[in-house]
């Protein structure tokens, strides 16, 4: 208390001598340094805590995702009898694609286990092979019809349960009734392993296929393409609109009641829950304009509405931060208002605008709620070829997989999260790159 009093006196330069006030400063110096140290400590602690959490998140997600990048395959030798596949020898792709490859696989697989005879056992045995094996052979035959009549070794996926067993996710010591894989299947699998027919390979399906109900056939490609198209539409619609709105409001618009109302509303719009935009999209784009459900076009438009306020706000503050001297210098040299903006102000504001855009886009990339309303939360197998094809997006795919009962979807969920994070990192890196290119010092 007395300390404070003397310091105050010293500051005001009252009756006390300078020696006295110097003393007081020296006395309080230690305390003030300690306060600063403490403050820095809090900051470091906060950052440390954040890094720990992030590290924890990444390690759990990546740790869980790692098994999803491999898939247990069987190298099965099959004989492609012409009478089964193409009895008339026409090599017509229509005939080839409808042939009964299932029997061929069954035959080849049962030949490996001549001792399995009962119908029930055969059923259990055949369950070990993924239903996708049929399509694997079909694709090989369609690609190369000369294989017909040959005996070839084809690599095909094993079912998700066997895959989980191979990855050690299923405890072999549990009682038989408590696990998905039966004792007999484990014994058969071990026999296959001993013969060297089982191989664990990189899971390319995960990156090339669309969604599937069979975890071993499910891929992220469809959702990734959907996200790409959606983001493209969002960017094309929201960026030019937001930037022109921001320029008008910041540079041209008179300050009156109208512009003030608009400004308040833009700020409010940024805080509207995203599901509301979904309802708006349903009412306007789908019901009124008759646009297709589940299409990235509609998703992109809805998300564009959602990101507009974010970009407008960021763009306005970026424009505001351009020093008036630049504008005045340009005017002084005889530039028209439009020239001042397009040649000088906008390029200088661009880094800030881009940062705002990326934040908005990153938000949009992670949205699922508004997409529910417009039918993008759906099971879609075909990979979308354009923004009008039905598709889903990455966060929706994560949600659908996280909600699936099959255990093998757990690791795929984490892997899909990794892909989403990679998307985000890519977007951020490109933003940094663009910012570096546009950045100008003054």
């Amino acid at each position: 208390m007395t300390d404070a009093a003397t310091t105050m006196n010293g500051n005001t330069g009252g009756g006390l001598t300078t020696r006295n006030s110097g003393e007081a400063v020296r006395k309080s110096l230690k305390r003030r340094y300690a306060a600063e140290k403490r403050f820095q400590m809090y900051g470091i602690l906060a950052i440390f805590f954040a890094i720990c959490m992030l590290g924890l998140l990444f390690t759990t997600i990546i740790g869980k995702a790692v098994p999803a990048f491999t898939q247990t395959m069987i190298n099965l030798e099959v004989t492609l009898y012409p009478q089964d596949i193409d009895p008339d020898g026409t090599r017509d792709p229509q005939v080839l694609s409808r042939a009964n490859y299932r029997t061929i696989i069954r035959q080849a697989f049962f030949d490996l286990f001549p001792d399995v005879t009962s119908r029930r056992d055969k059923r259990q045995l055949f369950e070990m092979i993924s239903p996708g094996a049929v399509f694997e052979i079909r694709d090989q035959v369609l690609k190369n019809p000369d294989l017909i009549g040959e005996r070839v070794t084809i690599q095909m996926p094993l079912s998700d349960d066997i895959d989980q067993l191979n990855k050690g996710q299923i405890d072999r010591n549990l009682p038989e009734a408590e696990r998905r894989v039966k004792d007999k299947q484990i014994a058969w699998f071990e026999r296959l392993e001993n013969r060297g027919l089982v191989e664990t390979v990189f899971n390319t399906t995960f990156f090339t296929a669309g969604d599937s109900r069979e975890p071993e056939l499910a891929g992220i490609r469809g959702a990734a393409m959907g996200s790409l198209f959606t983001m493209l539409v969002t960017l094309l619609v929201s960026f030019p609109l937001a930037v022109s709105a921001a320029i008008y409001l910041e540079e041209f618009a008179p300050v009156n009641k109208w512009t003030q109302t608009i400004e308040v509303n833009i700020n409010n719009l940024a805080a509207v829950p995203s599901i509301v935009f979904g309802l708006l999209g349903l009412a306007v784009f789908i019901n009124f304009f008759g646009m297709p459900r589940s299409a990235p076009v509609v998703g992109g438009l809805v998300l564009a509405l959602m990101t507009l306020p974010t970009i407008i706000i960021a763009a306005r503050s970026a424009l505001k931060s351009v020093p008036p001297s630049i504008r005045e210098a340009a005017y002084g040299l005889g530039a028209s208002p439009l020239q001042v903006i397009t040649h000088h102000v906008l390029p200088l504001a661009m880094p800030g605008i881009l940062t705002g855009t990326i934040i908005g886009m990153a938000q949009a990339l992670g949205e699922t709620a508004p997409l529910l309303m417009i039918g993008m939360v759906a099971f879609i197998v075909d990979i979308p070829q354009g923004p009008l094809d039905p598709s889903t997006v990455l966060p929706v795919q994560i949600y659908i997989w996280a909600d699936s009962p099959e255990r093998a979807f757990v690791e795929r969920t984490s892997a899909a999260i990794c892909v989403l994070l990679a998307f985000l990192v890519f977007m951020n890196v490109s933003a940094v790159f663009l910012r570096k290119r546009f950045e100008r010092k003054w």
């Binding site: 030019p240 646009m291 297709p292 459900r293 397009t342 099971f379 197998v381 009962p405």
Partner: protein
């Protein structure tokens, strides 16, 4: 550069607004129940891979939401089929008819058991439906004609034979079809064993339903969202809690959780399919007859769904957790589907 991007945006905007999907679709669209979703998608995938038709798009909107979309009208912008984990209601049939959707084919696909399960770390529970009602109802009867707010804190308070553990049940929220079915089959099933409440069904149906279907809101029943996987995880973490969800999740996680015996019956595949396990419900999908012909592949899709290789006892849907119907019922619905018989009779 800015002028150019503005021009691009204008062109893009125009192209987008021209994109009109009112033209015919070549792809079936299905909406509806999240419980039927895994089965419907499995059939859709199989159908897309084995026929010349495109893979149908299946949306998970919930039974009620699906029927609302389905009944909204006829035309390519409306879905062709909807899944439901309950039967269509009379009000929904009327709504459909009002919007021109007069001819609807009902296909029952099989059954789904609703289980009450807990972690394997705790002993298995043997419980009756009446005890479930007494443990989870909002108001419980205390003597003839009198209701009091549920005072039961532990299972032991409900019945001395039950364990001395706090009542904690994780289950789906009211928007879920699973919750409706649980309330109807387990809660009401137990509720109507009480004489005077049963008598009320005839005199005051509304009150009867309110008593039997209301689940307590004092924290003993925790709404855990529509995500059944989440409930399973929470059960693992908390061995004292119980969860309510579909049979397929028990089937996939049998190493970690166990189903409680309800009225002396364990929720097994056999007990649900022969009807001896009390808490099971039928699953349906509905087909819009007016779209058959204009949307390609609808009849073939129904045929794929109702083939024995799909919804039969050895079909691929049983592997996804569907409990198949008996032979007679399967044949009936397969024929109804093939002939597109207008078979809704409420």
């Amino acid at each position: 550069m800015i002028r150019k991007s503005l021009a691009i945006a204008a062109v893009a905007g125009m192209a987008l607004s021209m994109a009109n999907a009112a033209e015919a679709r070549d792809q079936i669209r299905i909406v509806g129940s999240s419980t039927v979703f895994p089965f419907s998608t499995a059939v859709a995938e199989q159908f897309g891979k084995t026929t010349k038709f495109k893979t149908p798009v299946v949306e998970s909107t919930g039974s009620g939401g699906g029927l609302k979309l389905f009944c909204a009208g006829i035309g390519a912008q409306h879905p062709d089929m909807t899944n439901a984990s309950r039967r269509i209601k009379k009000s929904e049939v009327e709504r459909c008819a009002k919007n021109g959707v007069a001819d609807v084919v009902e296909i029952k696909v099989g059954y789904d058991g609703i289980v009450m399960a807990n972690s394997k770390a705790s002993p298995q529970m043997k419980i009756s439906r009446q005890q479930i009602f007494m443990a989870l109802a909002k108001d419980v009867p205390a003597g003839e004609g009198k209701l009091i707010p549920n005072p039961n804190k532990t299972w032991k308070d409900v019945d001395p034979s039950l364990p001395d553990v706090k009542i904690e049940v994780l289950g789906p929220p009211p928007t879920s079809g699973t919750r409706d079915a649980f309330a109807e089959l387990a809660m009401e099933g137990g509720c109507k064993k009480i004489g005077w409440i049963k008598a009320m069904k005839k005199t005051d149906k509304k009150k009867y339903k309110a008593i039997c279907h209301s689940i307590r809101e004092d924290g003993a029943y925790v709404e855990a969202g529509e995500n059944d996987v989440l409930i399973v995880r929470k059960l693992e973490a908390n061995p004292k809690a119980f969860g309510v969800f579909g049979y397929s999740f028990l089937d996939q996680n049998a190493d970690k959780i166990q189903g409680s015996l309800i009225d002396g019956k364990a929720p097994t595949f056999e007990a649900i399919s022969d009807g001896s396990y009390a808490v099971s419900r039928p699953l349906y999908f509905y087909v819009k007859k007016a779209h058959v012909g204009s949307i390609p592949g609808m009849k073939e899709f129904v045929a794929e769904f109702t083939a024995d290789k799909a919804f039969g006892p050895d079909g691929y849907l049983t592997d996804k957790g569907l409990i198949p119907m008996g032979d007679a019922e399967r044949t009936k619905f397969r024929e109804d589907g093939a002939n597109l018989r207008n078979n809704i009779d409420l």
